[in-house]
């Protein structure tokens, strides 16, 4: 295992029938690192997140968290080990209150609080993501951005070692984006490792220590944001022939 690696993806592939959604990807995620997973739409980024979080099982290859082979395990087990995620299309629990939505992350997983303790903890996290005012509000009254914040609070409620953010910054306006980037920075400073799937270039440049670029399921580049975004293969993948 590579030195200081928290998560290690080794030759992972995912096939859906004849379609190869993820093609022999290998990378490591280090402690305290923000890793960008980028690439054009349909390149397999979300599938990769689903493989790490246990929503899907790899067709081939292994994923280790430390010494644990997590790719053999169900999602609930992976959540308990300390990997939390958000979803590309926000998934909240409509019949639960805002506070209960956040509590859901703190009761059964990596963190196991209950009762008043869990409620206080969830309320603190809502404050943290800037949603303290919404504790008593019905979920359906929240804007899309606020729903995203509640979902992030739920993921954070598990106190994860690894956080998987699937286009969490997409759809934010300039001010919100600034706040969002700062928030992710502070999460890293707390010692969490974060994988961000992202299209917003500003966010990638200012957040990511390293980036992995995927195209049609395969990894086409790896390096610092500056390096990969200047890579001709990456520019080709995003923009096509005429710009290369």
């Amino acid at each position: 295992m590579a030195e200081n690696a928290l998560l290690e993806v080794q030759g992972v592939s995912k096939h859906f029938g004849g379609l190869v959604a993820v093609d022999q990807i290998s990378f490591t995620l280090r402690h305290n690192e923000v890793l960008g997973l980028i690439g054009p739409n349909g390149s397999g980024k979300t599938t990769m997140i689903n493989l790490i979080s246990g929503a899907l099982r790899p067709t081939m290859g292994d994923i280790f968290m430390g010494d644990r082979l997590i790719s053999e395990r169900p999602a609930r087990f992976i959540a308990r080990l300390g990997i939390a995620r958000t979803f590309q299309l926000v998934r909240l629990l409509p019949s639960l209150s805002v506070l209960e939505n956040v509590m859901a992350g703190a009761v059964f997983g990596h963190k196991r609080l209950w009762g008043r303790e869990a409620r206080k903890y969830a309320a603190r996290l809502l404050e943290r993501v800037g949603m303290g005012h919404a504790i008593g509000m019905p979920l359906l009254a929240l804007t899309y951005i606020d729903q995203k914040r509640v979902e992030l609070a739920r993921a954070l409620a598990a106190d994860p070692d690894i956080l998987l953010l699937d286009e969490w910054l997409a759809g934010l306006n300039a001010t919100e984006l600034k706040l969002g980037i700062d928030l992710v920075q502070t999460l890293r400073q707390e010692g969490r490792a974060i994988i961000v799937v992202e299209h917003v270039m500003d966010a990638i440049r200012s957040l990511c220590d390293r980036c992995i670029v995927m195209n049609s399921g395969a990894m086409i580049a790896e390096g610092s944001p500056g390096q990969v975004l200047a890579d001709p293969a990456v520019i080709h993948a995003y923009l096509g022939d005429s710009h290369a």
Binding site: R76, R91, F108, R154
Partner: protein, 328 residues
């Protein structure tokens, strides 16, 4: 404990207390008969809703559990004392539920419905076959010293127990897990919840109670015949009553059981004759009841999908300007 919970407890204690004195009234045979039916279906519908409410799985296995409970007592009443048999019956229902749950709860809802419906029929055929081919008896007369009053009190105790268990589940991690599963199973598993396991536990609890009811009822009906206990209509009645009352509150099914039992009483008394047209029988009395049951079901699903409880809550919100913050 919140104020609402305190009121709930007082109402529950007062209600059960009043019901418990009913057998002491004189000349109350008709009332007792009604109360017995209501109590029986309250246990069945409430325990059904404990599982089906949060999971949205429609189980038609009530008759299977009920029948298994009755079968345990019918097989063992000459050997073992009734309280032991009651426990064994509940256990048998729980074990059956665990087996069915482990085998089918990974299936999607539709398959589960069909499987549970088939289950009662399968066990009925099996018990009938054993009765006629192996032990070679037509029907068993289950004579115990369980008097009518005691039968009623036993059902009442089961009802109290099912409410207590439901109340405890609601306040537990398990109850919270079930609400999350009911909303979004993907989120549940990514939050660390063992969703199949949680569902099986609740299914086992509902199987336990339905079997215990069957065990008590066989001492009331006395004549044990698989055809009268593994009866699909029991499963359907329970579903309709629970949906009529509303399954998102613990006391919801009760509000469906009471009106439906009364309505059923009317149907049973009013439609004893086959329906005739020009002197020719077009629908038998039995089929007519089933048709009416189906009509009730459709009306409920179309017009009160959230049950009586949903109606009551909407009304309460309208009466209390400020948006129904009083309940929760």
């Amino acid at each position: 404990m919140t104020r609402n919970e305190g009121i709930g407890w007082m109402l529950a204690v007062a209600g059960f207390g009043a019901m418990a004195f009913l057998p002491l009234l004189e000349d109350a045979d008709y009332l007792m008969g009604l109360a017995l039916n209501i109590t029986m279906f309250t246990v069945l519908a409430t325990s059904w809703a404990l599982f089906s409410g949060p999971t949205h799985y429609i189980s038609l296995a009530t008759a299977a559990f009920y029948g298994v409970g009755a079968t345990v007592v019918a097989m063992g009443f000459e050997v073992l004392p009734f309280p032991v048999l009651l426990g064994l019956a509940g256990l048998a229902g729980g074990v059956l539920a665990a087996l069915v749950g482990l085998a089918t709860l990974r299936l999607s809802g539709v398959y589960f419905v069909i499987f549970t419906l088939g289950l009662a029929e399968l066990i009925r055929q099996l018990v009938s076959w054993v009765q006629s081919n192996i032990v070679e008896v037509g029907s068993i007369q289950v004579f115990t010293d369980n008097s009518d009053n005691w039968i009623y009190w036993e059902l009442l105790a089961l009802a109290a127990l099912v409410f207590l268990v439901g109340w405890l589940i609601e306040r537990s991690r398990l109850g919270f897990a079930m609400r999350i599963i009911g909303n979004d199973e993907v989120v549940a598993s990514h939050s660390g919840i063992h969703s199949a396991g949680s569902k099986v536990i609740l299914f086992v609890i509902s199987g336990f109670f339905a079997a215990a009811v069957g065990a008590v009822m066989v001492t009331k009906i006395i004549n044990f015949d698989p055809d009268t206990f593994y009866l699909p209509i029991i499963s359907f009645q329970v579903v309709i009553m629970a949906l009529l009352g509303g399954v998102h509150r613990l006391w919801g099914p009760l509000l469906g059981v009471i009106p439906f039992t009364l309505l059923w009483e009317v149907i049973e008394n009013r439609f004893q004759q086959p329906m005739e047209m020009f002197g020719v029988e077009i629908v038998s009395a039995g089929s007519l009841k089933v048709i009416l049951l189906g009509v009730c079901f459709m009306l409920i699903v179309y017009y009160i999908p959230r049950g009586v409880v949903g109606r009551v809550e909407t009304l309460a919100r309208r009466l209390a300007p400020g948006g129904g913050a009083s309940h929760g």
